[in-house]
Symmetry: C2
Subunit: 337 residues, 2 copies
């Protein structure tokens, strides 16, 4: 048994026509119970597996959806992927996953590959500005939904999270626990997420006349960058320390926490409250469990598939941009002073 069995082999083995085998597979109701059983038995005996290439060729479209993310290692995307897979499987389609790794070349490779595969549509968290490329896709009839990026609704559908609202939420929480001398840690500000979160924080601070917000620009969004900001704060001495710190992501916050707790001059949350962003797994297991802002990743993935399905089914070119609001997760690091 060298070659894998074809539908014709099954038909012969069950003494029926190929069309009947196809019907058993795709429209079981059209086939009588008796022949159905006979065909299924033959399928089983020959170990027949449908050749998706042939099916797709005839059908004109595939049952797969392409998903290109910036980094599969990033828990944010991992969760989005998982949700998208689950949502797609409900529709009977599967997700082909591509990891661009923030590299435009890899991204382009995946776009090409998925186009050759004739995916039903594409979900993409784009590297930089690829709108021209995506315009081309749209023209060629490949529906596309942007993920984690707000799109011009006249051209694409998109799902994204409101970073301004997240920033507001974080700062408002610090204010609500009685802090007034706030600091924002993040950088570089050229990153849209950073500037949006800062903007939201500023909006919250303006609501309290006696509150101030200091901006501490970090060099990147890593633990080490957070630690150097933290060290700088420690050197300032207690009297000049903010009493509430909002970090643009959890890694930064963990770094700041390391600096502050290592010296044992300051206590979290008694002297300084600390809140991060993303709610990574490590947040809960930090030395002082870290309050954070959680992004609704499951909803992102699920909705992305839904929007795509809408576009596939209705040919009209109306797009929707769905924006989600993140959620505050309170832990010990922002407990009462």
């Amino acid at each position: 048994m060298n070659r894998t069995a074809s539908i014709k082999d099954v038909a012969n083995h069950a003494s029926v026509a190929v069309g009947t085998v196809s019907n058993v597979l795709n429209y079981p109701d059209r086939v009588s119970q008796r022949t159905k059983e006979r065909v299924l038995k033959a399928i089983d005996e020959l170990g027949f597996v449908r050749n998706d290439a042939a099916r797709q060729l005839r059908a004109g479209h595939s049952r797969t959806v392409g998903l290109i993310v910036l980094d599969v290692g990033n828990p944010f995307f991992t969760s989005v992927v998982r949700a998208a897979e689950d949502a797609a499987s409900v529709h009977g389609s599967a997700v082909l996953l591509g990891d661009s790794g923030h590299d435009a070349g890899r991204e382009a490779n995946y776009i090409d590959l998925f186009q050759e595969q004739r995916v039903q549509g594409l979900l993409i968290s784009p590297v930089g500005d690829v709108t021209e490329r995506l315009d081309l896709l749209r023209e060629r009839g490949v529906p596309t939904v942007l993920v984690d990026r707000l799109a011009d609704e006249s051209r694409f559908s998109s799902v994204s999270v409101d970073d301004d609202a997240g920033g507001y939420l974080a700062a408002r929480h610090l204010l609500d626990t009685g802090r007034r001398r706030l600091a924002f840690v993040g950088g570089p500000t050229s990153i849209r997420q950073v500037s949006d979160r800062l903007q939201g924080a500023q909006r919250a601070v303006k609501e309290e006349p006696d509150a101030t917000l200091e901006v501490l620009t970090s060099e990147g969004m890593t633990v080490l960058a957070g630690r150097s900001v933290g060290n700088m704060l420690v050197e300032r001495g207690p009297e000049h320390l903010p009493d509430g710190i909002f970090c643009a992501n959890d890694l930064l916050a963990l770094g700041v926490m390391q600096s502050l707790t290592m010296t044992h001059t300051f206590r979290i949350p008694e002297d300084v409250a600390l809140i991060g962003y993303d709610d990574i797994d490590f947040a809960v297991s930090a030395v002082v469990p870290l309050s954070s802002i959680r992004q609704p990743t499951e909803a992102l993935g699920r909705t992305a598939i839904e929007l795509l399905t809408e576009e596939v089914e209705s040919q009209n070119a109306t797009h929707r941009a769905v924006v989600f609001t993140p959620e505050l997760v309170v832990r010990q690091s922002t407990g009462k002073a």
Copy 2:
């Protein structure tokens, strides 16, 4: 322009035969410069994209390889995936990625999907025992390479990492820095990786007559599990503390580190040396940068693709089990006492 252009459209537009267009795509040398230009121009003007389903149907096999991992969020697998993708692209194939999430059902879905897609072969980091299923695949002519699992060479090729050697490496390093009262933290011991690493550590300790190894079983492999082991050690008091701790992964080690440094009764590495396993990103940015054992993930991914390619090209059923040796990464946490 509703339907995407086919090779026939291109042929008409360029006034050549379809065979010629195919040759331009697949055997450019067989085509004269003049016609090649004409055809390429037509391809460009029509926005032609090859239909992979048709190609595959005729060719009998695809240019894709299936890769099913236990958890794309795990940095170990992320790195393997990345390396496999790069290695595959050298061979002109692409990787279809599936995430089983340790779920046998999802795994089965992906196996079915990939089989319908007629992937060239399958790389899989299996959930539990799926050897019967994989045997079926093999019978049907889908070459399979096991990833991160040692396989019976009579049945499959595999790539894996020698956890015993890794455990030896870690314990030997602690011994080499003068520690003698060692402790191993990990659990549950039913996990093969845990028991293998412990075994390697025991082997190293036996080499030093005056050295001892205490086994501290943890409840899981998380930061919190590590912290509770750490707290237990702190309560013992300084005189009963080990002077070198080997944790079965970095998360455990970070938890232990949190406990020991929080109390400030013990210093790392002066009082206790600490080494983890996996060399996750967080290891380098821990409060005390953590020594660890790094697994050669790039080599795993690359070699997996190579073994698969071997199986695809040579029909003979000889398999190879390649075992890699991990690597010691020394950082501050195991500095001299």
